[in-house]
């Protein structure tokens, strides 16, 4: 094996054995269409990728699990999964946020997308992917409308009353509630941390309004 080959292989082996983060979590399949539909007045959006690992590591993970009331799944919800957050803009002004999470359902993965205003109050919610046999009922507008105006506090205090639209998919209904709660927790813990919006240009912080 000549030197060039050794150099090339060494470089790539070094690169590959470097400790791995995970692939990106839930991103919008069609951000242009989805953000315009969720925020008709928007003119653009900015994408951010944030991990639990870089924002607080194991200690933050424990905080999230405590608020969620459940442990995070070690493969799909590991601390190095980069979560994707979209800051929605009208001109240069921020008018809202969009964030999606993956959630394990009874038959496969679900992708839950949440849009919220500057007070982190839910504006809309939809499934980007829904594997339940009763997917149609979950994806019905009447089900999504029940989440409008809710905040994380409603979930923490159990003051939200959401009806299960299905007959045989209660497990997927519970998974949906877990996914939405997890989504709201992640927005607060990762993106709107300590009263500031995440911004890599200003050492991770920017004013909220």
């Amino acid at each position: 094996m000549n030197n060039a080959k050794i150099i090339i292989m060494s470089f790539f082996v070094l690169v590959v054995v470097h400790l791995a983060y995970a692939a990106v979590g839930c991103t919008l399949n069609d951000p242009e269409r989805d953000i315009k539909r969720l925020f008709p007045g928007s003119t653009g959006y900015k994408t951010f990728y944030i991990t639990i690992k870089e924002q607080g590591g194991e200690a933050l993970k424990k905080e999230i699990e405590l608020e969620l009331g459940d442990t995070l799944e070690p493969v799909y919800e590991s601390i190095d999964v980069p979560y994707t957050f979209y800051t929605v803009l009208k001109g240069k002004d921020v008018i809202g946020y969009v964030h999606g999470v993956n959630q394990k359902g009874k038959y496969g993965g679900m992708q839950l997308i949440l849009s919220s205003d500057l007070d982190n109050k839910t504006i809309d919610f939809y499934f980007q992917k829904m594997s339940s046999p009763e997917a149609g009922k979950f994806m019905d507008k009447r089900f999504a409308d029940q989440f409008k105006g809710l905040t994380l506090d409603n979930f923490m205090k159990n003051s939200a009353s959401i009806d299960d639209p299905t007959e045989k998919s209660h497990e997927d209904f519970k998974a949906t509630l877990r996914g939405i709660k997890k989504n709201l927790i992640l927005i607060r813990k990762l993106y709107l941390k300590d009263g500031h919006r995440f911004s890599p240009e200003t050492s991770g912080k920017a004013d909220l309004k």
Partner: protein, 362 residues
């Protein structure tokens, strides 16, 4: 001044020396491309990822005996840079560069190494509903632009239909409330080397339902004069299996439906290849194990008729695959393929088993 190397013929030394220089050039090219993109992106702002990639494969075929490849897919090591460029008005451009060094054991050890480019494109957001892409990317036909088949053992019909999955060119993408459309004009050069000869070109267009529905469908058209490359290498330049182009005209339909743990996929293409009428179809069912969702089974049937006349030849493959996700970054896959090649006077079969370890992590 001429230098002498005892025991090595000057011509052999010169050739070896050129190859050594070429390998160094490949290395610096890869390294330079990655560093440049990361630097440019850091200057202009935005979010990005730099993934490391490793693809290891091995298996046994009744035709080729022990193999370390699956069709054009080789064991390889490389990287992917994916970045968003943004300013105070939001994201305006996306870049993707995915390159690897692959080893082809069917060539001699000196010629086996090569540089492959999977993705190399820039996509500019022209308006909120339109995008313009330039570089090396999927042709806009059938299921291929919707699925990430870069690392999977089971492939779409693109290999038989177009002859390759990606090519160099430009693409225009647009969104309407109820459907998406994309149109691509590419060199017809085939995956790998940038080349154009014998008037080669490839025009493809697809109109489909948004990618966010459980039920999706699309219709595609293709017209082109396409070259036949041998493999996916960019450097050293991959060779052509034929000097001239093949004229292709096609119409295709595709669909996907997610129902519970099942994902159904299907596509069909019909048209002309030079003077022959050709027809191909694919049907696949993926099943995610509800009790262990890291595990997925795939069953696929693929068939391609080179000519619809009675003396036609048919290539068909039945494949059964299993995918297991070890971590967010690591996946192991295994697949059994039963292929049969039917002509008017012969029938040949091939059984093949491939096992793969795939890593893609930051």
């Amino acid at each position: 001044m001429k230098r002498s190397f005892p025991g090595i013929h000057p011509r052999v030394f010169l050739r070896n020396s050129r190859k050594s220089k070429m390998r160094r050039a490949v290395f610096f090219c890869l390294f330079g491309a990655a560093i440049s993109l990361v630097s440019v992106q850091a200057v202009f702002g935005g979010a990005s990822f730099f993934y490391k990639e490793l693809n290891l494969m091995g298996g046994y075929s009744t035709r080729d005996k022990w193999v370390d490849r699956n069709d054009d897919m080789l064991s390889s090591v490389g990287f992917e840079y994916y970045g968003k460029f943004s300013n105070e008005y939001g994201d305006y451009m996306t870049a993707d560069l995915q390159m690897s060094i692959a080893y082809d054991s069917t060539k001699n050890s000196r010629d086996g190494w090569g540089l492959q480019v999977q993705n190399a494109w820039l996509e500019y957001k022209y308006s909120q509903y339109t995008k313009l892409k330039v570089g090396h990317f999927d042709a806009a036909f059938g299921l291929e632009p919707l699925l990430d088949t870069h690392s999977t053992l089971l492939q779409t019909l693109a290999g038989q239909n177009i002859g390759f999955t990606r090519d160099w060119g430009v693409e225009y993408r647009g969104l309407y409330p109820y459907f998406d459309y994309e149109a691509a004009l590419q060199l017809g050069s085939g995956q790998g080397t940038i080349r154009r000869q014998d008037g080669s070109y490839l025009f493809t267009t697809r109109i489909g339902t948004p990618a966010t529905k459980n039920l999706q469908g699309g219709i595609s058209f293709m017209n082109g004069r396409v070259l036949k490359p041998d493999g996916m290498r960019v450097w050293p330049k991959n060779e052509l299996l034929a000097e001239g182009t093949t004229t292709k005209t096609r119409v295709g339909v595709d669909g996907q439906y997610l129902y519970g743990p099942y994902l159904f996929k299907a596509e069909a293409a019909y048209g002309k290849e030079d003077k022959n009428n050709v027809l191909g179809c694919l049907a696949e069912i993926d099943y995610t194990l509800p009790s262990n969702q890291k595990c997925e089974f795939e069953l696929q049937f693929k068939s391609w008729l080179n000519d619809l006349k009675p003396s036609s030849t048919e290539f068909s493959t039945m494949a059964l695959g299993v995918t297991y996700k070890l971590t967010q970054s690591s996946t192991i896959r295994a697949a059994y393929f039963h292929g049969f090649h039917l002509t008017d006077d012969s029938f040949r079969e091939e059984n093949k088993v491939i096992v793969q370890y795939y890593f893609l992590g930051i």
